[in-house]
Amino acid sequence: MKVHEHQARDILSEAGVPVPEGAVATTVEEAVSAAQAVFAAGGPLVVIKAQVHAGGRGKAGFVKLVKTTDEAQEAANFMLSNRMVSPQTGAEGLEVKKLLVAEAVDIVKEYYLAVTHDRARRCEVLIASAEGGVEIEQVAEDNPDAILKHPIDPLRGLEGHEARTLAFKLGFQGKQVNQAAAIMSRLVKCFRERDCSLAEINPLVVTPSCENHPDGQVLAIDAKFNFDDNALFRQKAIAAMFDPTEEDPAEIRASEFGLSYVSLDGNIGCLVNGAGLAMGTMDIIALHGGMPANFLDVGGSATEEAVAEAFRIILSDNKVQGVLVNIFGGIMQCDKIARAIVAAAGEVGFGVPLVVRLEGTNVGAAREVLEAAKADIPNMQVATDLEDAAAKVCAAVA
């Protein structure tokens, strides 16, 4: 699960990581008054950022630095009345409902800091670089030595001396060292306590020297958090931050029925049991020259109602010109799928070709159900195996 930047800032702040003052605005007026508050407190510069999950905000004009309330009004008005289009949003773009209005601090140096899981080592890993503020993937490619990767002991966590050593390695100076080390320790602790799958601060910055902070201050400017969906049962506060408007409505509808669905660009709808077989089915469609319209794993223990919902979701996608059902019943009983096909045919009807391949548990009973309903579903073809199924559905939509 993803959260918005302003929510990530709140999480960081609660974890004891310093972030610049900021406020969330849902109207132009709120944005202007939040900016006014920063100017009144002596802040010379304010940053206004659209709160959407998709990246590419800066280039799309949805992150703006402003010096006056007039500029704040103009920027807020633009972001709240235009849809944001970036390479990550698709052509139709995203509606912006919330803005983050924060003090823009002067920056001496930018760093990158993140915690994630290292699958190969089976532990958490702290990733840090003195080259922050940019795409870390690019740094990793151009200059891999500039990235420190510190595996974290699953039982002990990150020790204070480890964090300090990393801070020195990254080049922090004077009082910055303990500030940076504390931020690392707190980010790791937060990652573990909140069941994160990614906790990223980019950039982590050092501010210029001032009266109160002769060595400058270490602050988190932007943050990104992803959470382990499997752990949301024990992370109620995080689960409450879920914003359904950021997700594909069909994917949300599917998840409410325990289905795993991802919308794709092709024209062949797929209904499969098991994630691996669902991917394999997409792949074999592509091998036969077709394009899958979706990934859909009905799971092993789906009810007849959930399978019917799966058909509704697939058939409501107007890209779909043919449907392939591929079930290898283990826990899933094939006759349950067959009855759901018949029900879906009666309820919404298959206006497009349907190819069904069933194998495994209760396949005999399933074939009888389909045979009996044959006359009512003229668009249906029964396939003998996976290869045959892919060939038939691709031929039907060609």
């Binding site: 190969a120 382990d228 752990a231 499969v272 826990i331 495994g360 996976l386």
Partner: protein, 319 residues
């Protein structure tokens, strides 16, 4: 011979009174698995519908029955604890079927297993289980009955074939991250007269127990395994590591398939571990790495049985 389990393995079910635990305990008994009891805290002293004894703790169950393997259906919030309980009680093979265990729990559990119970084999979580097929004694298809095998998990037993029930007399090991793709591979092999020694579903989670190499190592050493089908998918680099290992250590043919060539980057494809992060996690990168290592990789999930038959040198009638 086979790997990990055989007809004499005594098996417990953790979570035997839950709907899934009860249903699959019956399925395993029907297949001929030597199920000796189950565990549900608070229900010790009772019996399940099949007359198997239920215990409060895994330690009690192991002491009373001598079980060495466990099939775990404990719900996700408590599953990691169930795995550690089994390991502490001396269970040697723990097969965790449960789907949806938090990654953090598995990171901690795997670390404790490695440190304190290095001899324990964990299969899964989020897997269909492990099966060493028995010999068919009666019936056909779904109505067939078997003896001498051991099925621990949720796979349909009848699709599997013991080597002595095949025309070729050959058997392969199967190791896979995906349940239903395993069934597909088993089906294609059985259909072409190729038996299976043992099939291991290692599961779709990013942090788990046994991995590809652990299985390849055992299959290479098993005299009754003639080749291996290895089924991977997008996410992580385990398949690439396994390919390199196989190139150096395997004398038996390995046939692979990697699912997810058409999967988009950054979208989780059902399994918690099936998500493309970097350039090395893609199906194409894995397929090229496996081919460079000299393994046979099938482009199509429907081509696994055919590729295995060729690799085993079976005649055209089997392909």
């Amino acid at each position: 011979m086979a790997i990990l389990i055989d007809g004499s393995t005594k098996v417990l079910c953790q979570g035997i009174t839950g709907a899934a635990g009860a249903f699959h305990t019956k399925g395993c008994l029907d297949y001929g698995t030597n199920m000796v009891g189950g565990v549900t805290p608070g229900k010790g002293g009772q019996q399940d519908a099949n007359g198997l004894p239920i215990f409060d703790t895994v330690t009690d169950a192991v002491e009373a029955t001598g079980a060495t393997a466990s099939m775990l259906f404990v719900p996700p919030p408590f599953a990691a604890d169930g795995i550690l309980e089994a390991a502490t009680a001396g269970v040697e093979v723990i097969c965790a079927i449960t789907e949806g265990i938090p990654v953090a729990d598995m990171v901690r559990t795997r670390e404790i297993l490695d440190r304190d119970h290095p001899g324990v084999v964990l299969i899964g979580p989020n897997c269909p289980g492990v099966i060493t097929p028995g010999k068919r004694v009666a019936g056909e298809g779904p109505d067939a009955s078997f003896e001498g095998g051991c099925k621990i998990g949720i796979m349909p037993g009848y699709i599997h074939t013991h080597r002595t029930d095949t025309a070729s007399g050959k058997a392969v090991g199967i190791v896979s991250r995906s349940g239903t793709l395993t069934y597909e591979a088993v089906w294609q092999c059985s259909d072409r007269g190729i038996g299976q020694s043992t099939c291991v579903g290692i599961g779709g989670d990013p942090v788990k127990g046994m991995n590809f190499i652990d299985c390849l190592e055992r299959f290479e050493a098993d005299p009754e395994t003639d080749g291996v089908v290895m089924i991977g998918e997008i996410g992580g680099t385990d398949e690439v590591d396994a390919g390199r290992w196989a190139a150096q250590h395997m004398t038996k043919p390995v046939v692979g398939f990697i699912a997810g060539r058409t999967a988009p980057k950054g979208k989780r494809m059902g399994h918690a571990g099936a998500i493309i992060g970097g350039a090395d996690d893609t199906a194409d990168a894995k397929i090229s790495a496996l081919r460079e290592a000299g393994l046979e990789v099938s482009d199509s999930p429907a081509g696994l049985g055919h590729a295995m038959a060729i690799a085993l040198g079976l005649g055209a009638e089997a392909t």
